[in-house]
């Protein structure tokens, strides 16, 4: 429920800078998601334009087009996308790379 509070902070920062949320150097991670409730939350974060790491894939890999849509193509529609990685070390590196890329795009 209180994940909603995170959006309040993101909106305040995006509003102050007059940029979109997907331009901010932010990322989300659900390293150990298991509940159904986590799935709409992940979609909402993607809707907001946030890069979302999940530690387990939703059960979609049998569908190659679905997998590609969720982990890549959806970004052009909404600004966010999913990234699946059970390995915390590489997930951290990937999140840092996303944050750094957004920083340089903002010129900071």
């Amino acid at each position: 429920m209180d994940n909603s509070r995170v959006e309040e902070v993101l909106n305040a920062v995006a509003g102050y800078l007059n940029v979109r949320i997907d331009q901010l150097p932010v990322a989300a991670s659900a390293p150990e998601y298991i509940a159904e409730k986590a799935v709409p939350i992940a979609f909402w974060a993607v809707d907001l334009g946030v890069f979302v790491h999940v530690g387990d894939q939703p059960n979609v890999i049998a569908g190659p087009d679905t997998t590609k849509l969720l982990t890549s193509d959806v970004e052009s529609l909404l600004g966010g996308k999913l990234y699946v990685d059970p390995n915390p070390a590489t997930a951290v590196q990937k999140m840092l790379a996303v944050i750094d890329a957004k920083r340089s795009a903002l010129g900071i």
């Binding site: 909603s4 102050y16 932010v26 159904e36 979609f43 569908g63 070390a89 920083r103």
Partner: protein, 612 residues
Amino acid sequence: MEEKDQQDLWEELLAKFKSGKINRRELLRAASAVGMTAAALKLISLIETGRLSGPIASAASIPTKRGAYTVDPVTAALIKQAQKLKIELVWDRYLLKERNSRLEPTYATCINCQQGPCRKVNHGTCGMDADGIVSRNLLRETAAGTAAHLGHARRVATILKRVGDGSLTSAYSIKDEAKLNLIYDGLGLSGATTPKQMAREVGEATLGDLTRLEGTPSWLTYKANQERQNRWADLNQGKQNTTPINILPVGGAPEVQEGMHMATMGVNGDYVNFILRCARLGLVDAYCGMHAASGMQDALFGTPSLISAKSNLSVIDPDQINLAIHGHVPLLAEKIVEKANEYNDDPSHTTKINVVGFCCTGNELLMRHGVDIAGDYLQQELAIVTGALEAMVVDVQCVMPSLADVAKSFHTKIITTDPIGKQEAESPVQHIEFNPLDPNLTDAGIESVAKQIVDTAVANRANRDASKVFGDLKRPLRSEMEPSDLVAGFSTEQIVGALDAVNYSKGPIGLLVDKVKSGEIRGIAAVVGCVTPRDVYGYRTVEIVKGLIQNNVLVAITGCTAIVAAHHGLLKPDPTYPGIGSKLKGVLKAIADANGLTAQNLGVPACLHMGS
């Protein structure tokens, strides 16, 4: 070949492959001999690209180490105790089940109609292809998750409305009138002159959002920024010659209904359409569910502010009467805490009640009252294994049906409360109903349920078998069994308030933005969600949080993720800022200084616990 033998052979091959004893070619040759080439290819690719973890152990032992990571000593000790007592835990079941289902995620499986089940196929009987099957399954999962959050918001809105219309006058009240005012204005309401009128109208507006058949939910218009609202109204915005794609939802219940409609046999065959529906339900979940529930709970019970407490199973104290509260909706939990405090205030009661929290109801009580948090989803069975838990009261969501089985070996009572959240009625389970949706619910009824629960825990203390109390919990605790110190209460208001104390010329958000610009804060990450039995307990969460804060990324954390991070000291207000990147440390220290924390030998953690 027998199914079981095949599984065993497969296990053996995979283990050899993972440990490098055989190479890809040898694995494939062996897999081909048992007709599993396709599965082997898929698994090799998944393991090699790190998208699927391989086997981690046999069911005989629950792993507590991975690389340099070790499970916290309190949980490790209780897992050992459970094994000694031959109590089956969530990890045992996972490891047993995993042997038989590791290939499952690589199949497109549909069990929705009577032409099937259809699995391991490219097309179902109806002709749905693999993408259609998996994206439709995901829509069902999304609709279910959304329904749970809507159910939570509905319960809170109903109580808020009833506080407002005067049909409940004493059991609940408005604790944060300023927040209620903000919400009232934010939802575009006007004309009310008293907090009660506002409460009724906010409750009604929220229930209206849950059932709205046209227009946009008022909570979405209030909370989402305009740029996003425009985008959701047309995802093809600005593109020539395209049909507008609108994912702006109407009301909560109609959206879940249409989502489930879409997921029934023979409606939609376009995977993109399924996934866009999931994206739409994400908005329903956030604005009709999460934002609404969170805001109304603040109005009813207070907006969280900085508060300290302790975490982990060793907050269960054998010298007291231990009552655990578990679930997600804090309506009854608030009343139980009140009743327990009344009991404890009576000097004739020499043995006091120790209320401890689990999961998100636990997080709610932690954020607003500093109630110690005993554990997360994976630890709920271990609370009973302590042998010192008089009762565990549950509301809805994330409650393991195994609790009753574990409780059979001890004196613990499992008390279910919500009419949709019952367990099989055997001796350890007792249902004491609290139904926030019942229009006949009265103040007296609410008080009596809360008191009955507290009385049940108190009376059950006499049934405790001292010989079953886990010895390592006896006070004084050995240092490794001590619970962890933590601070929580980082609502948006508290974060802004803490930044404001720095008195920066550009204001609190200006300060945050400038620290991000300067690179002192490299970025912000929200680490959220559950704890999984698929890996060593806490490994992924703890390692990710550590990696982020070491690299100067400020972390906002919620839910079970926050609880396991707390067990590892990551929410501790440590003035030495261990493991935190030097730039981020400087920012945190400046905030701690400005808020008078450094003077009390405290720091601000790099991991801000924002709640449930």
